[in-house]
Amino acid sequence: MESMIHDMAERLFRDHVSHGLRADAAAGQCPETLWTRIEEAGLHMALVPEEAGGFGVPAAEALGLVRIAGAHGLPLPLAETLIANAVLAGGGLALPRGRLTIAEGAALRLERRGGALHASGHMAMVPFARWADRIVTIVALDGVDHVLSLPVKDLTVTPAQDLAGMPRDDVAVDLALTDADAAPAHRSMGGMRGLGALVRSLATAGALETILRMSVEYANDRVQFGRPIGKFQSIQQYLATLAGETAAARAAAEMAAGSYDTAAFALTVAAAKSRSGEAAQTVGALAHQIHGAIGYTEEHALHHFTKRIWSWRDEFGTELDWNRELGRAALSSPHDTFWHFITDSTAQGVLT
């Protein structure tokens, strides 16, 4: 797909996301200058409608930015800010400047106290919370999904991190909300869990492509027994398996991205998170096997990508969580046959 915003992102990340920048970020340093460049390019607004300040590109194209960010191991909440802005715009809330993040709302309690809304509870593993200005989440109140925009300065953030050293913080919430920070969501997209699963699937697909490229390069360059190790059939079989899993992860993630905002999203995102997580397992193992001992060092770039794909499996539902959900849907579906369930799973009715 030819895409101006993809080319723009590709150039920006290629020029500015280095091994050193990823290492510094893992050591706790937020790459502020790079974020400014992303904001200047407007990438963080790509998923909101044109009238709200977006580019007016199709959602699948805007979401493609997440795959590209994943391919570069971008240590910033671009995916989170994209989704947060789209959800805020959907709820008719103001789009604040700055970095935003997203969190599942299931652990929060939303209630009316007097005339005002009040949110309370704990959220674990909130991505980049300490680097973000606001946390956007979706919480049900009286059966209606509400979008909340929580200012991080009013929350209690306890730092924690994922396998790749990226901030995944514990957040305690006890906050009265103004009308500017809470509104009914314009429609249900299965809450923040599905949207988070979507962006983690896309980022995984991107990271897998980078891991595949690194593995092919290494197999071509590394000489043992007098020839590049890529000449050995066992290594070729590993690489072919790696390519197949990478292709499947990308097809899965793009299938879900293509059904964003349609009735097919609930099942396609389940398939995407499950399939990309499974691919991460296989690809991570094979890539390290191909790279040998050097790939197991801090010095080599491979771990920035393998640790990310391993971590992303655990956010917004694991493979097991999504497999159960998809399996329950398949086994309890009203369709005559499993086949009818499968063909309908990707059929895109309009979400109401």
């Binding site: 797909m1 699948a60 897998l208 492509e209 595949l212 092919v216 197999a219 071509n220 590049p228 890529g230 000449k231 059939q233 070729q236 079989q237 690489l239 072919a240 398996t241 390519a243 197949g244 990478t246 292709a247 499947a248 990308r250 097809a251 899965a252 793009e254 299938m255 293509g258 099942l267 396609t268 389940a270 398939a271 995407a272 499950s274 399939r275 499974e278 493979e319 097991l320 999504w322 497999n323 159960r324 959900e325 998809l326 399996g327 329950r328 849907a329 398949a330 086994l331 309890s332 046959t337 499993f338 086949w339 369930f341 499968i342 063909t343 799973s345 990707t346 059929a347």
Partner: protein, 382 residues
């Protein structure tokens, strides 16, 4: 485009009206077709069924109308194909002709060949087989020894083909053989169109498979005369012609739906009652199937655009074979019920049939090792 990019199938690829028509047709035609028969997947042979399907316009769908086709898109053909496979319809009598021989003749054949053969394929009247493997040429197709020597008015063919599926009933074979010498290992090969019903000195004998079934044959050409107009395409271009067929052969839904009858049996039983662990395994299976189908439909979209996505097709076949071969293991891990060949319990009978069928899935149409070698080279390994 990178090897790992499978562009989404074009919007509107669902063709729901067509799908419902095919389902209604199959419900009627296969009303008495047992699960065990469905388990034979695309190996089921019925000329009667193929003709009826053709009468509905569902054979040769993508062929031009002037050759008896229906000028439908590759995506519409895809919908019909996957519905046939999911139902376990007996399709092999027309399958190979519809999938690759017809398109090959349309692309490379003479006007006479096209007019003589393609309309009969579209009518569901012609069964094709593919003469590729030989006793000393399996994965190594370039080791082909069968020779067609030019003589007055045509060719004399000598050699032996093996594993030729349904040669004993087929009307035509597309024969891959040597027609000249070449320094290039892939040179000097040609494809010849063999009228199996009208040609003398061809000996076809059965090779029984481990399930006791007769699909394979040995086909011996013993000074067999073929007329000049048997040549299909360019002389000496056989290798590249065969390679251009592979994307059609390797990317379709038959590369991941071969065990589908067992999946339906398994899910029928689990629907009554399933633990969370069983639900999760069915979810994982569903995710794999949804994604394979997306990738396979993506290749159909690329074929429809006139591209040759041979590498993407190899990926679909490799992943698809892993999936369909894994179904008996999965079934055994979820339900404890022994496999019984021909058993009255349809789950047990289908499990037995499928267990014996699955080893062939990563052999036919290019072995797993060959496919992975192709994929690895496509990745840019030097």
């Amino acid at each position: 485009m990178t090897l790992t990019a499978f562009p989404p199938p074009p919007s509107g690829a669902d063709h729901n009206d067509l799908r419902q028509e095919v389902r209604a047709f199959l419900a009627e035609e296969l009303a008495d077709f047992s699960p065990e028969k469905r388990a034979r997947s695309w190996n089921g042979f019925s000329r009667d069924f193929s003709r009826k399907l053709a009468q509905r316009g569902w054979v040769g769908m993508t062929f031009p109308e002037e050759y008896g086709g229906h000028a439908r898109s590759a995506l519409e053909r895809y919908v019909v194909s996957e519905e046939l496979l999911a139902a376990g319809a007996p399709v092999i009598a027309h399958w190979i002709a519809d999938r690759q021989s017809g398109p090959l003749i349309l692309a490379k054949g003479t006007e006479e060949q096209k007019r003589a053969i393609v309309p009969r394929i579209a009518a569901g009247e012609l069964c094709f087989c593919i003469g590729m493997s030989e006793p000393d040429s399996g994965s190594d197709l370039a080791a082909t020894r069968t020779v067609a020597t030019e003589v007055e008015g045509g060719f004399r063919v000598n050699g032996t083909k093996v594993w030729t599926t349904y040669a004993h009933v087929a009307d035509y074979m597309i024969l891959f053989c040597r027609t000249g010498k070449s320094d290039d290992r892939h040179g000097g090969m040609s494809q010849l169109l063999v009228d199996l019903k009208a040609t003398k000195n061809i000996q076809i004998s059965p090779i029984i498979d481990l399930a006791g079934e007769h699909h394979f044959n040995q086909v011996i050409f013993d000074d067999t005369f073929l007329p000049s107009d048997a040549l299909l395409g360019e002389k000496g271009e056989g290798w590249s012609q065969v390679m251009s067929e592979l994307a059609f052969e390797r990317s379709g839904p038959e590369r991941f739906l071969s065990s589908f009858a067992l999946i339906e049996e398994l899910i029928r039983l689990l629907r009554i009652d399933a633990t969370e662990a069983q639900q999760a395994e069915i979810g994982r299976l569903s995710a794999h199937l949804m994604v394979l189908r997306q990738m396979s439909r993506s290749v159909a979209g690329m074929l429809n655009e006139g591209n040759n996505p041979a590498l993407q097709a190899a990926i679909v076949k490799d992943l698809g074979a892993l999936f369909e071969q894994d179904i008996p293991r999965l079934a055994r891990s979820l339900i404890s019920r022994p496999a019984v060949p021909g058993g009255r319990d349809s789950y047990a009978a289908v499990l037995a049939y499928t267990e014996l069928a699955v080893p062939s899935f990563s052999l036919r149409g290019g072995t797993r090792e060959i496919l992975r070698g192709i994929i690895a080279r496509g990745l840019g390994l030097r």
